[in-house]
């Protein structure tokens, strides 16, 4: 029988989940075409794009994960997260308006338009890999969190949380996802902001926290205490590039009502998160670090539970309803990222697989049905994977390592230095970026002695693989730069040369 504190927490969570159901049902009536379902009719204003982009960015990794990282390694973790927000600012200011101007539905469409069918296929494979990994990680995080809050077995909690997310994403598509993202954004900003404000005051600001840290002989405010400078820079670059233009963010560039709304929506999300999140996670992580009660509890449990444990221990004595709202904020953060990946997966299946390869002339009602069915299938597959793989951080690290080396350079070439003759060079760089990541991760890195070569062994695969991808691009461009692309290499925006 749950006590009154638990009842308040469960009540707050139940109200929040019912709100999601209501939004899903309402959005179902607004969806009439596949364009409504996949890109919300391209009608969103900058503040809506800002909220949905920021809610998507603050997932399990940036909230629960980062508070536990600050708890473990200190200020370096908060500084590293700045890279995520900086990439959103760069994407918003210079890339989002150009992408919006092309009226695309998926990333695959951009690659076919600029570099032909072969590049599109490679891009779609990378999108599938990224979305499968990211969705599995977020659904697994939802299960872990809900299980902690509801005190139910992990498997049952995973099923409850993913069933709700799959329901509203299937019913209302991206329209429901954007609306729930706004609700989740408000709850998580208000929740995390309130928690950081109260804990800051309780600990007499950073001066009080620093005093307590020195009493405990901890160097949490020393930037290079945990990571040597080379590893810190390497991780910063990996964070900066690892998420750049991944499908959920690219979709946010496509759904704005025009170029300017796309620019200020995405860049605004980056500016807001840069101001808000690193400072808030630093306060939360360090407040937990200097709290003897939390340290005692963490000695026997998973460090990923720092944030929910901190919320419960600090706010339940003030009022259990406050604790319940803040727990709902954490669940909201994770759900808002999972639903975005789910929606992107369905759009990819409908546009890049069904319409491209199976039924190019399918009527819109059939496309809408396919999109809805694939939302359910993708959600169920990711839930199945989440049962098998529980280590959220390593799943995310794995998919980030593959994304950046293969996908970043083609975007920049396609948008800022485009020529159809560079198609061969782009395909060569995508292939070598992927192969270099595989080689570094599975062949080279395991053979590096961390004692003899500490700097080299601390490098993430992103940097060496990206350098090799750039070299492959430059060399192929030197050799094939005058050759006109033909066949599968012919961009859809150009005509085949006469025989």
């Amino acid at each position: 029988m749950p006590d009154s504190n638990q009842l308040f927490e469960l009540g707050a969570l139940a109200v929040y989940l019912l709100g999601l159901f209501y939004i899903g049902l309402r959005s179902m009536r607004e969806v009439r075409t596949s364009v409504d379902y996949t890109i919300a009719g391209r009608q969103l204003s900058w503040i809506v794009v800002l909220s949905t982009t920021a809610a998507t960015m603050v997932g399990g990794g940036a909230s629960v994960g980062m508070v536990s990282q600050v708890y473990k390694i200190g200020i370096a973790a908060a500084v590293l997260t700045c890279a995520w927000h900086l990439q959103l600012i760069v994407t918003g200011l210079w890339i989002a308006p150009r992408l919006r101007g092309m009226n695309l539905i998926t990333i695959g469409g951009f690659f076919e338009l600029k570099f032909g069918v072969f590049a599109r296929t490679l891009a779609v494979i990378h999108c599938i890999l990224f979305l499968t990994g990211a969705l599995t990680a977020q659904i697994s995080a939802m299960g872990t969190l809900t299980s902690h809050v509801l005190e139910l077995p992990f498997e049952l909690s995973l099923l409850i949380a993913s069933a709700i997310t799959i329901f509203y994403s299937t019913a209302g598509g991206i329209r429901a996802v954007v609306k729930t993202d706004i609700l989740q954004f408000v709850i998580l900003v208000a929740g995390i902001g309130t928690a950081a404000g109260i804990l800051f005051a309780k600990n007499d600001g950073f001066s009080g926290i620093a005093e307590k840290l020195s009493e405990l002989s901890l160097d949490s405010l020393d930037l290079t205490h945990h990571y040597p400078p080379v590893q810190l820079i390497s991780l910063f670059v990996a964070f900066l590039l690892g998420e750049t233009l991944v499908p959920p963010y690219a979709t946010r560039c496509f759904i704005a009502k025009d170029r300017e709304h796309s620019r200020w929506g995405v860049a605004g999300a980056g500016v807001f998160l840069l101001l808000f999140l690193p400072a808030a996670t630093l306060v939360l992580g360090l407040a937990a670090r200097v709290d003897p009660q939390i340290n005692a509890l963490m000695a026997s449990s998973d460090s990923q539970q720092v944030f929910p444990t901190l919320i419960r221990n600090t706010f339940q004595p003030i009022h259990p309803l406050l604790s319940g709202i803040l727990i709902a904020a954490i669940v909201a953060a994770v759900m808002s990222s999972a639903d975005s990946c789910l929606s992107c997966g369905a759009t990819l299946a409908m546009e890049d697989i069904f319409r491209r390869h199976l039924r190019p002339s399918a009527p819109d009602s059939q496309l809408l049905l396919v999109a809805r069915m694939t939302t359910v299938v993708v959600g169920l597959v990711a839930t199945f994977f989440a049962f098998l793989f529980h280590n959220i951080a390593s799943i995310l690290e794995f998919v980030y390592n593959f994304w950046a080396p293969a996908m970043i350079l083609p975007f920049f070439v396609g948008l800022f230095w485009y020529h159809p003759n560079r198609t061969y060079a782009v395909v060569a760089s995508m292939t070598s970026g992927t192969l270099s990541t595989i080689l570094w991760q599975f062949v080279v890195h395991p053979r590096i002695d961390p004692v003899l070569h500490p700097h080299l062994s601390s490098l993430t695969p992103v940097l060496p693989a990206l350098v090799l991808a750039i070299l492959a691009f430059l060399l192929t461009n030197l050799v094939c730069g005058r050759m006109r692309p033909t066949g599968g290499f012919l961009p859809s925006g150009t005509e085949e040369p006469p025989a």
């Binding site: 954004f185 900003v189 902001g193 600001g205 101001l275």
Partner: protein, 37 residues
Amino acid sequence: MTLLSILNLLHYLSLCSAVVILVLLAVHSFKYGKKAR
């Protein structure tokens, strides 16, 4: 300016940005709701 005073300043900036964004969203929802009616 010491590291601690910079961190304190960043914290206040963080709280202000949260308030500003929530107010902006509230204004937008009000306008959108009025338009929808």
